[in-house]
Symmetry: C2
Subunit: 268 residues, 2 copies
């Protein structure tokens, strides 16, 4: 039997944006083997119903459990917002989402406790970020805003320029007027727009990208559970449910050039 | 046994944009019962691989066949472009796509045989419109352009305004410079942008919306096959694979206020 610490960590996302989280984990805990699953056949989750997101998230988690993972990271903000509580009820393996790390990073970076959250319609509508922020800091002012065009713009490779700036002005205008001093980028695609978002929001607003803090949470939990692997060099194995035309270009955008072989699997 | 003519017609689309085709059919052949299936759990098809679109289209068609349909309309441009030939090989029921009717309408409306086609990345990349236009009219000049932001903009309810105009200028600029006199709106969502597209392209460019011509093709095939139902008032029954939050608003946008009860089904 393989000792728990030698088993891989599973990471899943609706698409390949979660590779940023896998990359941060690979940098932070380099001995860990990572198995990544991107549900590219059913992406996006952010415009689907709670019912659909719950079903997809469970199917992704079961696939990873069948690969023998010791811990699962829900790298998708929509799935973290909607399905994490239910997954924790059903499954015995430790589960880490991206909402909690993002919330903690935002609270520690916000001087005036005026925090904005942007995400997919499903993430914002779930209220997961907003209610967790208020639980941890009842005095906080939270403003959520759904930004449905940002994911398709990122996947089109449109990361800057006049149209991007106008769309961002349109989405972020109300958050700017409310003088938020910290903005949670509550979708794995949004860090790609960091320079443009900073241009619109101004340099005083702290942009919270949860990849880094999620990788820190993973390390903490592994240490606490006695599951941390401390020897050897970990590998990253990537599965997707569909391989669309621009996959390789996009994969490198999110993970970097060291992204290895990608295999296609069918979940249902 | 039910006489063939009394059996319903099946219509499927990746989402609910195809309801415009169902609405045109309901107006043209009002005695026909229509069963509509929108694969909203896996929408969009337009950014997925050929492999995925083929699998999804077959699953949609099989669902409709299990409802006893006499004919299937593939109302999705992406599925029509990629999967129709294969479906015709496999299935015995008559199948009608939206590409052929759109191509014929464009050829008859284009005086100078300079035709533009806009659609999802998968539709444009498949070359289905382009090659069918060239087959029927070898002298034609065809220019295709993928417009990936238009579907998410439509689903956000953003149908006009400065951002829409800038995005359209960006996508349509090259077609305008090539002086196309007819533009195929090769995606069921695009007719929602007709006024804005006309504003960018100018009034001289004919905009081809295939809903109407597809409904005419359906009538022709039903007549030819002796399947046309000529008595009674047909019903429209709508199935979707997911019921997202804004479904009712969007459904009415595409079908009109008479859209009846919608049921959720699971395909796989």
């Amino acid at each position: 039997m393989i000792h728990t610490s030698n088993r891989p960590i599973g990471v899943f996302d609706s698409g390949i944006g979660g590779l940023t989280v896998a990359a941060a984990m690979h940098a932070r805990t380099p001995s860990e083997d990572i198995i990544y699953l991107g549900d590219t056949a059913r992406v996006p989750y952010g415009t689907k119903s709670t019912h659909a997101v719950n079903r997809y998230a469970l199917e992704c988690a079961l696939f990873l459990l069948n690969q023998g993972v010791k811990l699962i990271v829900v790298a998708c903000n929509t799935a973290s917002s909607i399905a994490l509580t239910r997954l924790r009820e059903i499954l015995s393996v430790p589960l880490i989402g991206v909402v909690e790390p993002g919330v903690k990073a935002a609270l520690s970076s916000s001087a005036h406790k005026r925090i904005g959250v942007i995400g997919t319609p499903s993430t914002i509508n779930s209220g997961a970020y907003q209610s967790r922020l208020r639980e941890l800091a009842p005095e906080v002012e939270v403003y959520g805003k759904a930004c449905p065009l940002l994911v398709p713009m990122a996947e089109e490779g449109r990361l800057k320029g006049e149209i991007v700036d106008m769309v961002l002005e349109d989405y972020l205008g109300s958050l700017k007027r409310r003088k938020v001093d910290s903005l949670i980028l509550g979708c794995t695609h949004y860090p790609l727009f960091k320079p443009s978002i900073a241009g619109v929001m101004g340099d005083d607003v702290h942009l919270v990208d949860s990849a880094q803090t999620t990788a820190e949470s993973v390390e903490e939990v592994l240490l606490r559970e006695g599951m941390l692997r401390t020897h050897g060099t970990g590998t990253v194995k990537c599965y997707v449910t569909d391989v669309p035309r621009q996959f390789n270009k996009l994969g490198r955008l999110f993970f970097g050039d060291s992204l290895g072989k990608v295999s296609r699997v069918t979940l249902s």
